[in-house]
């Protein structure tokens, strides 16, 4: 299967195939790269990534570091004149890359926090402070408040093999190596 079709097929069941099909009509205008806040500081070149996908450069795209530099801010997605669903396509490519063992360390790290705490970004003092200011309870009604729910999340992680995907070590409760 061509890489383009693989991306569309992978994202289809969750995001809708029409949504994913928009990948095919990118006209290479660069509006996405031009406004990408991550690209100002990092090496991500959104349009080039889309073009590489269109040209079926599977290995290059899946193994590239820039794939993980998108902040999923959806700026490109909102502005694209051809309505290419850029960010969702990027996320889908990441899913494929993840399955192939290309998950970036930083993303594996964030994922390990989900297993450990139920949150990709666990609460800290600053957040607690802001919550108080906004009139919210200091601790949100999530695994932070309901410790038992964390067990459920960990069971899910095992059942879906999410732990294997990110190389999680249950002994050390950390990433392997």
């Amino acid at each position: 299967m061509e890489f383009v079709d693989e991306i569309i097929e992978t994202g289809g069941p969750i995001l809708g195939s029409e949504h994913m099909e928009t990948l095919r009509v990118c006209m290479q205008c660069g509006k996405c790269t031009g406004g990408c806040p991550s690209g100002r500081l990092t090496a991500i070149r959104t349009r080039k990534m889309i073009l590489s996908a269109l040209l079926n450069m599977r290995d290059e795209v899946l193994s590239s570091d820039e794939l993980w530099l998108c902040t999923t801010c959806y700026t490109c997605y909102e502005r694209c004149p051809r309505n290419v669903k850029v960010t969702d396509i990027t996320r889908t490519i990441r899913n494929i890359a993840g399955r192939e063992g290309y998950l970036a360390k930083s993303h594996r790290m964030a994922a390990s926090y989900v297993i450990k705490t139920g949150h990709g970004v666990p609460i800290n003092d600053a957040v607690k402070e802001s919550r108080k200011k906004l009139g919210l309870s200091e601790i949100p009604p999530t695994t932070h408040a309901y410790k038992d729910a964390l067990k459920g999340i960990q069971t899910l992680a095992k059942k879906t093999k999410f732990d294997e995907l990110i190389d999680f070590d249950w002994e050390t409760m950390n990433l392997k190596e």
Partner: protein, 570 residues
Amino acid sequence: MDKKTGVYICHCGLGGSTETEEILKKLPKGSIVKDSQYLCDITEQELLIKDINEKDLEQVVVACFASDVHRSIFKKVGDEVGFLPNLIKIEESDDVVEKIIAALDDLKPIKPEETEVDVNPSVLVIGAGIVGEQASLDIGDAGYKVYLVERRPNIGGHMAQLDKTFPTLDCASCIGTPKMVATGQHPNIELLTCSEVIEVSGHAGEFKVKVLRHPRYVDENECTGCGICVDNCPAVVASEFNLGVGPRKAIYIPFAQAIPLAAIRDPEHCLSCRMCEYVCDKKAIRFDQEEEIIEFEVGSILVTTGFELFNCDLRPELGYDKYDRVINALELERLCAPTGPTAGEILIHGKPPKNIVFVQCVGSRDKNVGNEYCSRVCCMYATKQCNLVREKVPDAKFTICYTDIRAFGKGHEEFYNRMQDEGVIYLRGIVSEVYRGENGMMKVRVENTLMVEPVELEADLVVLSAGLVAPADTPQLANMLNLDVGDDKFLAEAHVNIRPMETRVKGIYMAGCAQGPKDISDSVAQTSGAAAKATIPISFGKVKIGPEDEVKVVKETTATAAPIEKEVTG
């Protein structure tokens, strides 16, 4: 369904059908189903007539792709056998068997009941831009009467707002004004400004037309355009003709070369001081003028209602509504024009701009705002505008940020080449955002796609190359005239390749930007063609019409509340 039926499936667009047997099974005894290569071919039609006569067919269905275009082709069949084949449009995605059987369920016989009627030797032209003017001149020169209806107080349309025109850099006034003057003076052209068509009925050869004429509050025939009233009027508002770049008075003459050269009073901003009446020695001011309905008949109608400029606020990331250093291209034309509000001096914050960035494809080629099409003129007008500004600010630098440069017209590629030679930088990439930097200058974020590098350009003037969109009231206009509107929201032609100036209604034609964006050359070429089309039935004197050619009266109209100029300039 008991009539002996002939079903003919044409290969056009379909490649024929393999299911003729299946269809036949569902038809009454004595019916036939045939696969035909080219039914529009004369020999095939003779075979069709032979079938009908020999096999006593009582009804005939033709399934083809281009059913809209081919209706008239089967006239010969109708003449010979007394009824016309029913045409069914089949598209590739259709289930041929299902569609044909469904259509057979309630098939109405079509009798070739055309009647011949006399043609009124006059034409209604709606919209007096360059396209409406040229058509009126051609038809008038052919010796026929023209009613030219224009909503604004003056004719000339967008071309009157331009400084110079690509690809030759002719002064727009120098080539446009003579056309306006000729239109205003032509003995066969009746000019109805401040006017809108509000009702049309009848059919080709004899359309009945109602026009609403808004009050100008000045007698057009008495006024000499001396401007004394304007000088003395105390009420000042922004000028629509100059897109708000300069002021005008409550009584005003839109621009010096306006045709008709007459003042117009805008009651919304008038202070009722009656100074104008006091100073006018021609006694031309008419405070008591009222709306007027004018009725007449014409043989043909030509729609030349042009375009509006895309509203750049719909792309908020480009900062058009936020920064006065971001302007649209038509505003730049007014700034460059010697007839403009600054007499051609280009000043931004009091200084001539030195670093100008053009943003291409604003509101065109953009599904996000619902305009999928290319506006066809903005690549060239941006290229032209670099030249216009350079004439006044010789040391200015220009960068045109583009998606693709479309320079397909005669002389366009050469012009593009020339401006590159003169130092204009073409940077391939669509601008993503514009914002103000700390030094007050604009920052333009864009990817230089050929270098695969996002960059930030600094500019003291950002020009948005706004696209051409259909006038906002096109759906109502189409409704009134029984016309179709296309996916691009412009008026739809009968067939884009072979009947581009005709509409679905016999006797109603269109030309220029009303049909879709195009430059002046293409607009004028098309309009002379449409004028010829509109005069064919007139010069012949008679036209054949059927029941389907009657225009249904639609009560909803495009008429706006006065003052008239307001929403037109875009």
